[in-house]
């Protein structure tokens, strides 16, 4: 899971390792660190925001570790759905029960349909829809696209996926 943390560090050299060591000891992978030197607090501490991926069950242990190192944890944010893609659907979307298609994605627990635009030109003609799927991570997003492919095959819908980004298969873009 991706975590964003706002911390406060003493304004003395060598403090950052008190943040990085516990995260990496617990298998965390740091995505971004910003040192807000210009926003020093009245307690003479420096705010730091750090974003990293880590197993959710290690969070408590991490928080203890940071506090033992004299780091103040101001805020912990869990960024649940961070991978996003758009999929175009063409066919008898309504007749084949759109609700059911969305429920299958939402029912996974790791992905959900967040947005849908639908166009129905004629009662008997094929309709078109573009949906936005959000998932907890890149792998989960790929899985949910796989589920959608199976649904499309079963319901004879044409699905059009984004061109894979080079280096991040699945048309995945990371969003906060």
């Amino acid at each position: 899971m991706r975590i964003s943390m706002d911390l406060e560090l003493q304004d003395t050299p060598g403090q950052l390792k008190h943040v990085l060591t516990p995260i990496s000891d617990l298998g965390g992978n740091i995505a971004s660190i910003v040192h807000h030197h210009d926003k020093k607090t009245f307690r003479n501490t420096v705010p730091v925001s750090v974003i990293f991926d880590i197993e959710e069950q290690t969070l408590e242990e991490l928080q203890d570790g940071l506090e033992q190192n004299g780091v103040t944890v101001v805020r912990i944010g869990k960024m649940r759905l961070r991978a996003r893609t758009h999929i175009l659907l063409i066919g008898h979307i309504i007749h084949t029960d759109l609700r059911d298609t969305i429920d299958e994605i939402d029912g996974t627990g790791f992905a959900e349909v967040q947005d849908l635009s639908l166009s129905m030109p004629a009662i008997d003609g094929p309709s078109s829809a573009i949906i936005t799927i959000m998932a907890t991570g890149d792998e989960e997003l790929k899985k949910s696209i796989g589920i959608l492919r199976q649904i499309a095959e079963r319901k004879d819908l044409l699905i059009i996926e984004p061109l894979d980004e080079r280096g991040s298969p699945g048309g995945v873009s990371n969003e906060e």
Binding site: H86, I87, L88, I90, G91, S117, S119, P121, G125, P126, S127, S128, A129, I130, T132, L158, I160, E161, P162, L163, R166, G171
Partner: protein, 324 residues
């Protein structure tokens, strides 16, 4: 072949749009001599190019001999067979026999015909190698857009990891017009047929077959896949609606028919509007991912008589350079 100062002698087998394009542009090239032209009805030996082109345009027969195309390939002494008969995806004939016979008779082959390469790529490249002659096919993929020779020669220092492209001008024209003018598929298809951009039976283009053939050729040439048509997963553009294109556009995407060479797949894809593969009209584009040179994208005219002939001429000229 003989020394660099001598003439390069060629035959043109197939005298449709591409064959006529070749005859038109080689007129201006010194040291290339056309020794025979074959169309479906017969063979013109030692043709006067202006005269033959005029006769063909006027609907008159061009033949001045009793020879067949195969006779020319087997018995008329010349260096290069330019095989430009129409692509037949079911077995590749008659092009396959033309190419095979040319190579066996130690003639180089330059072709725009995808059929033989889709049916028997490995056999033909092996045959060329055994006989010490060249088989060149730049014109089979992307028309005037350089890709085969670009990868083989210019990018020789990089390893190619993947190639993806918008490789069919007819599909691209239809999708572009549908999106930009908010027109229905059937309307734009008729328009494209009127303009000669789409065939009367458009299946070969719109069902993704043509793109699949190009994917196979690139996969065989650069990834050693020895793939044939059955290996490619193909989805065409004929189910795409105008509404779908408008919805995609509102989210910042265009829809293009994309051939993915590593995946051996052809399917419509959402492409960000600003992406280099988002070319419009009948243009083709290909994006080549390499280990050391990163990603390189080329775009150009994917079809047309003179455009395709230009790719054939570049292959012929490179054969001339190779022998000098």
């Amino acid at each position: 072949m003989r020394n660099s100062q001598s003439l390069l002698t060629i035959s043109i087998i197939g005298f449709g749009a591409v064959g006529q394009g070749v005859a038109t542009i080689v007129q201006n090239v010194p040291r290339i001599k056309v020794v025979a032209i074959a169309d479906s009805k017969g063979v013109a030996l030692m043709p006067d190019l202006k005269d033959v082109l005029a006769r063909k345009r006027g609907g008159q027969p061009i033949a001045n001999s009793n020879l067949t195309a195969l006779d020319v390939i087997r018995t008329v002494d010349h260096d290069v067979v330019v095989e430009v008969t129409p692509t037949n995806i079911h077995g590749g004939e008659p092009g396959l026999t033309h190419v095979r016979e040319a190579l066996k008779n130690k003639r180089c082959v330059v072709t725009s015909n995808k059929g033989p390469l889709v049916a028997a790529f490995d056999e033909l490249t092996q045959l060329a190698h055994t006989n010490g002659v060249a088989l060149r096919y730049e014109a089979t993929v992307g028309g005037a857009m350089p890709i085969v020779n670009l990868i083989r020669d210019t990018l020789a220092g990089a390893r190619v990891l993947d190639i993806r492209g918008v490789l069919n001008g007819t599909c691209n024209y239809i999708l572009t017009r549908m999106a930009e003018e908010a027109l229905d598929y059937d309307q734009v298809l008729s328009e494209a047929q009127d303009m000669g951009i789409a065939e009367a039976d458009p299946t070969y283009d719109v069902a993704g077959i043509d793109t699949a053939c190009k994917v196979i050729i690139l996969a065989n040439a650069f990834f050693g896949r020895n793939a044939t048509f059955a290996d490619v997963d193909v989805t065409g553009i004929d189910r795409i609606t105008q509404d779908a294109l408008q919805l995609a556009r509102q989210r910042g995407f265009a829809v293009k028919l994309v051939g993915d060479v590593q995946e051996l797949a052809v399917s419509p894809k959402l492409i960000p509007i600003g992406h280099p593969l988002n070319v419009s009209g009948t243009l083709n584009a290909a994006s080549i991912l390499t280990d050391t040179a990163g990603e390189i994208t080329v775009a150009g005219k994917g079809a047309g008589s003179i455009e395709t002939a230009s790719a054939i001429l570049s292959d012929i000229l490179s054969l001339m350079r190779d022998r000098s």
